[in-house]
Amino acid sequence: MINESLARYSNYALYGAMIVYAFAFFGYAAEWVFGRNSKFVVPAAADAVAETSAEAPAEAALVGAGVGGASASGGFSGLDDLDVPGLDAPDPAIHNGNLRAATWGGVAVSLTGLAFLLHVASVALRGFAAHRVPWGNLFEFSVAGSCVAMAIYLALLWKKDARWLGVFVTGTVLLVLGLALVVLYHDADQLVPALHSYWLVVHVMAAVICSGAFTVATLATVLYLFKSRHETKARLGTAKPDSMWRRVPAAAKLDQTAYRILAFSFPIWTFTVIAGSIWAERAWGRYWGWDPTETWAFITWVVYAAYLHARATMGWKGRNAAIIAIIGYGAFIFNYFFVSIFVNGLHSYAGVK
C-alpha cells in the first residue's frame, strides 16, 4: 500500500531542502552583516510619485472638447501626505547599497527558490507514497505548513521587496523542519480510521495554510515591534546611527504587511474551525464539544478577532494590537504542539510516541 521508495525520496528531498535553506539563511545573514559596512544612504524619494503619475494616460480631449478655446496645463503638486507616515517612502535596503551584501542577498533568494522546490517535492512525494493528502500527522502538518509559510514569503518577495523577511523566514522554517524530523517524525503510513474523510482534505488543508500565514504574519509583527521602538528612539535622537533597524522598512509598512496576511488568513481560520465542526458533526455526532483542540482553535480565533478589533480602537492600535496578534499565534502554536501531543482529546492524531 505504501510506496516505500517514494517515501524515501520524499525524505531525501526534505533533507536537501533543509541544506539549501541553511545556505540561503547564511546568505541572508551575510547581506545583513556586509550591509552594515557601508554608510547609510537615505534613498532618494524625490518626486518619484509625481513622475510616475505624469506618465499615466490622461484624457486630454476632455479639456479641449469641454471648453472651446481654453488651453490648460498643469502638474501634480505632489502632495504625498498620508496620515500614516512612512507608508509611501521607498524602502531602505538590507544591503544598504553595498554590492557584496546585495550579491549575497540575491544568491540567498535564488537558493530559497531552489529549496522551496525541493520542499514542495518532498510534500508531494509523501502524498504519492501514501496515496493520500500529505498532512495526516503532526510531522506532515509541520512540513506542509512550513512549505506554505515559504510560499507566502516568496509571494511577498515577488510582489514587492520582502527580503527583510528572508533571514527570519528561512530560520523559522529550518527550525520547524528540524523539530519535525527530530521530535515529530513519523513514517509514511496509512491513516487512522477517523481520518478517512474528504474533510481531512478541506479542514486540515485550511489549517495548514493558516499555520504558514500566521507564522509569516507573526515574524512581520515581531519586526514591527522592534522597528517601531527604533522609530521612537530615532525621533528622540537616541537611536544608534548604524542600527540594523534602519535598514528595515518603516514600522507602518511592517504593520500593514502583517495585517494584510492576517486579514487574508482570518477568514481561512474561521473556515477551518467551521469545516472542522462540520466534520465533527459527521464523525462524532456533534458540531461543537469543547474538545481541547476545538477549545484552543476557538481561543486562537477569539484572540485574532480581538486583534482585528484592537486595530480599530483608540489606545489599542499599533503596539498593543501587535502584541495581541503575537498572543494569537502563541495560542495557535500551543494547540499545534502542546495540545495535540500532550492533552488527550479526540484530535489525538499527532502520531508522536
Binding site: S53, A54, A58, E59, V63, V67, G68, G69, A70, S71, A72, S73, G74, G75, F76, S77, L79, D81, L82, H186, D187, D189, Q190, V192, P193, H196, S197, A263, F264, F266, P267, I274, S277, W279, R282, A283, G285, W290, P292, T295, W296, F298, I299, V302, V303, A306, L308, H309, R311, A312, T313, M314, G315, K317, V339, N344, G345, L346, G351, K353
Partner: protein, 591 residues
C-alpha cells in the same frame, strides 16, 4: 441631483463605526473613563454605553479566551472522552479538587462565569449591531455626504492648477473658467460613476463646485452579516440545549435496539424533549468488523485501520427494512436522528451451568478495552440459579480478561495480547461466591465480601484459569472449567463484537450551518471590500482653475492613493511636452 444628506444622518453613521476594522479615531463614547454624576437613568445609560463600547468588547473577548482555557486542561464532566476522569482527579487532589468543583471548573462551559462572559459579549454585540444596522440602512438609501471644506486634510490628496485663456468663442475669462469647471465636474462624475461609485455633486458658489463619491457599502453589510451570524450561532446553541437528544447505546452483534428512552445506556435530553415521544425506529447490528495494521515493521503495528458496522434498520412505524454499513465518518440517519459509530469491543459468549447441569447464563458478556492490543476486561454476575451441594442458593461472580490474540503471561502485566484482531482468543477468568453486593447490573459485582474460588487446584498460588476455544492437541476440551465443590461449570463458547453508538438528534444544525455560512461570507466582504470616499473640487482662482482630488479611506486601504491618483490623472490635462508650460501649483497642502 439629490439633496445633500442631513448632518444628523452623517453623525449617526459616524457614531456607529465601532464594529469596523478600519483605523479610526475614537473621540467620544468609550474613551472617557470619568464617571458622570449619577442618576439611575444616567447610570444605566452610562453602563450601557460602556458595555457596547469597543473597549469593553475587547476586554470581554480576552476574558472569554482566558475562561475557555481551564476547560481544556482540567477533566470535564460533559466531555465525550471520559467523564470518570473528574472522579479520578477529585480522588487524587483532595484539597484543591473540591474548591475547583465548587467554582464549576469541571463544567467550565456550563459554568455561571463562562456563561456570564459570553452573554455580556453578546449583549454588547447586539447593542452594537442594532444601531449600526439602522444607520447603515439609512446610509444605503442616501447619496454620499457633501465634500468637506478642506480637502487638503484628507489622507490622500492631489491638486493642480489649470490655466484658462479666453478665446474667440468665449470672450469672457470668467465664463471660460466656469465652463471648464463644469466640464471637470461632469467628467469627474462620469468617471466615478463608471467605477460604480455613488456620486453627489454640489456647488460652492463663485463658480466652484465639488463631486463627492463613495463606494464599498457592502463592507459594512458584510460586517453586520458576520456579527448577526454570531448571534445566530448562539441561538443555535440555545436550541440545541433545549431540543437536543443525546445518548449512547451499545449493541452486540445479533442484537438490536429500539429508540425508546429506557433503552439508552446513557442519555442527556434537552428540557423541551418529551422522552416518551422519541421516534421508535429500530436498529439491528448484523456484523461488526475492524481492521488493524498488520505490518510488523510499521510503527503503527496494531493500530486500527478501519471499522464497519453492518446494520439493518427500519424507520418508526415502517416495515421497510434497510441495510447500511456504518463507519466512523458515515453515520446512520433515521427519522432525523443520527447514530454514530464511536467505539467497539469484544463480548465473549459465556455459558454457566449450575450443579444440575442446567444453563443459568448463556450469552455474550460485554468486555471493555483495558490494555494494549485490545486486551479487554469484564465481569458477569449470576445472581440466581446457582446452588450449593446442599441445595441452598448461592451467587456466582466471574471476572476476567479477554485476549483477542493470547500471547502468554507477563510477570508485570498479566495476560498479554499480541494483536487486536482475534487470532488466538482466550478468556482468563477467576470466580467468586458469597455476598456479591446489591448491584443493579448483570455485568458488575462487589468482591469485598466475596470468597474467591480456586479454579486451578493443581497450581498453588493461582486461582484463575485460561479458557480457549475448541480442543487442545490431545483432543481435550479446553473451553470449559469445572467449578470447585460441584457448583457447576463455566464454558467459553466463542465471542461476538459489539459497537457503541452515539445517538443524536439536534434541530439546531440547520440554523447553525446557515449562520456559519453567514460568518464566512460576512468576513470575506468585510475584510475584502474597501470602503472609501473620493472627492473632486474645482475652484476658480489665480489665472484659471484649481482642481483638487482627495480620498478618504473608511477601512484599512493600501490602494486608496493609487486610486485617487488614477482619478486625478484622468481629469488632468496631459502634461505638455514643453517643460516651460508646466507650472506646479503651490496648492498649500504639503506638510
Amino acid at each position: 441631483m439629490t439633496s445633500p444628506p442631513t448632518s444628523d444622518e452623517t453623525n449617526a453613521e459616524m457614531n456607529a463605526a465601532s464594529l469596523t476594522t478600519a483605523p479610526r479615531d475614537e473621540t467620544a463614547a468609550g474613551s472617557a473613563v470619568t464617571l458622570p454624576k449619577l442618576g439611575t437613568v444616567e447610570m444605566a445609560r452610562w453602563a450601557w454605553r460602556q458595555l457596547t463600547s469597543m473597549r469593553v468588547a475587547l476586554i470581554l473577548l480576552f476574558m472569554l479566551s482566558l475562561a475557555a482555557i481551564p476547560g481544556s486542561m482540567l477533566p470535564q464532566r460533559s466531555a465525550n472522552t471520559d467523564p470518570t476522569k473528574v472522579t479520578q482527579f477529585l480522588a487524587s487532589h483532595k484539597t484543591i479538587g473540591p474548591v475547583l468543583d465548587k467554582l464549576q471548573f469541571f463544567e467550565v462551559y456550563k459554568s455561571a462565569w463562562f456563561s456570564a462572559i459570553y452573554l455580556l459579549l453578546f449583549i454588547s454585540l447586539i447593542g452594537c449591531i442594532v444601531p449600526r444596522s439602522w444607520a447603515h440602512a439609512k446610509v444605503l438609501r442616501k447619496p454620499p455626504p457633501p465634500a468637506p471644506r478642506n480637502l487638503a486634510r484628507m489622507p490622500a490628496h492631489f491638486a493642480w492648477q489649470e490655466h484658462v485663456t479666453a478665446s474667440a468663442a468665449t470672450s469672457d475669462a470668467a465664463e471660460a473658467t466656469a465652463e471648464l469647471a463644469a466640464a471637470k465636474l461632469t467628467a469627474a462624475e462620469k468617471a466615478l460613476k463608471a467605477k460604480r461609485f455613488r456620486v453627489l455633486r454640489g456647488e460652492d458658489g463663485a463658480g466652484g463646485g465639488w463631486v463627492s463619491a463613495e463606494k464599498g457599502y457592502l463592507r459594512e453589510v458584510g460586517n453586520l452579516v458576520f456579527h448577526i451570524s454570531l448571534v445566530g450561532i448562539l441561538a443555535g446553541f440555545a436550541i440545541k440545549g433545549f431540543y437536543g437528544v443525546q445518548g449512547k447505546v451499545l449493541i452486540t452483534e445479533g442484537q438490536g435496539f429500539t429508540n425508546v428512552a429506557q433503552n439508552y445506556d446513557d442519555r442527556n435530553f434537552g428540557g423541551g424533549v418529551d422522552p416518551d415521544k422519541l421516534p421508535p425506529f429500530s436498529v439491528h447490528l448484523d456484523k461488526f468488523d475492524a481492521q488493524y495494521e498488520s505490518n510488523l515493521k510499521s510503527s503503527d503495528f496494531g493500530q486500527p485501520r478501519g471499522f464497519q458496522a453492518d446494520v439493518t434498520y427500519s424507520a418508526a412505524g415502517s416495515n421497510d427494512v434497510k441495510k447500511k454499513t456504518v463507519t466512523l465518518n458515515h453515520p446512520l440517519t433515521i427519522d432525523g436522528t443520527n447514530l454514530y459509530l464511536v467505539s467497539h469491543g469484544y463480548a465473549p459468549v459465556i455459558k454457566v451451568k449450575n450443579a444440575a447441569g442446567i444453563a443459568v447464563y448463556d450469552g455474550p458478556v460485554q468486555f471493555f478495552e483495558a490494555g494494549a492490543m485490545f486486551k479487554s476486561s469484564g465481569s458477569l454476575n449470576v445472581a440466581s440459579g446457582m446452588t450449593k451441594t446442599d441445595g441452598s442458593p448461592v451467587q456466582l461472580g466471574i471476572q476476567g480478561w479477554f485476549l483477542p490474540t493470547m500471547a502468554g503471561m507477563s510477570p508485570t502485566e498479566g495476560p498479554v495480547s499480541a494483536f487486536p484482531a482475534p487470532g488466538n482468543p482466550a478468556l482468563i477468568i477467576t470466580a467468586f461466591t458469597g455476598d456479591l453486593g446489591d448491584t443493579q447490573s448483570v455485568f458488575s459485582f462487589d468482591t469485598s465480601k466475596a470468597t474467591q474460588l480456586d479454579l486451578d487446584p493443581a497450581n498453588a498460588g493461582n486461582k484463575g484459569v485460561a479458557l480457549y476455544l475448541g480442543k487442545d492437541d490431545a483432543g481435550k476440551d479446553i473451553d470449559t472449567v469445572q467449578l470447585p465443590d460441584g457448583l457447576g461449570s463455566v464454558t467459553f463458547e466463542g465471542y461476538k463484537q459489539y459497537a457503541q453508538f452515539d445517538i443524536n438528534h439536534d434541530p439546531s444544525k440547520t440554523p447553525v450551518f446557515a449562520s456559519a455560512i453567514g460568518i464566512v461570507g460576512g468576513l470575506l466582504l468585510s475584510l475584502g471590500i474597501r470602503r472609501r470616499r473620493i472627492f473632486v473640487r474645482v475652484r476658480p482662482g489665480g489665472d484659471g482653475l484649481r482642481v483638487e482630488v482627495a480620498g478618504l479611506a473608511r477601512s484599512e486601504d493600501a490602494r486608496l492613493r493609487d486610486e485617487v491618483k488614477g482619478i486625478g490623472s484622468g481629469l488632468r490635462p496631459k502634461r505638455s511636452k514643453q517643460a516651460g508650460q508646466v507650472k506646479q501649483a503651490e496648492a498649500g497642502a504639503g506638510r
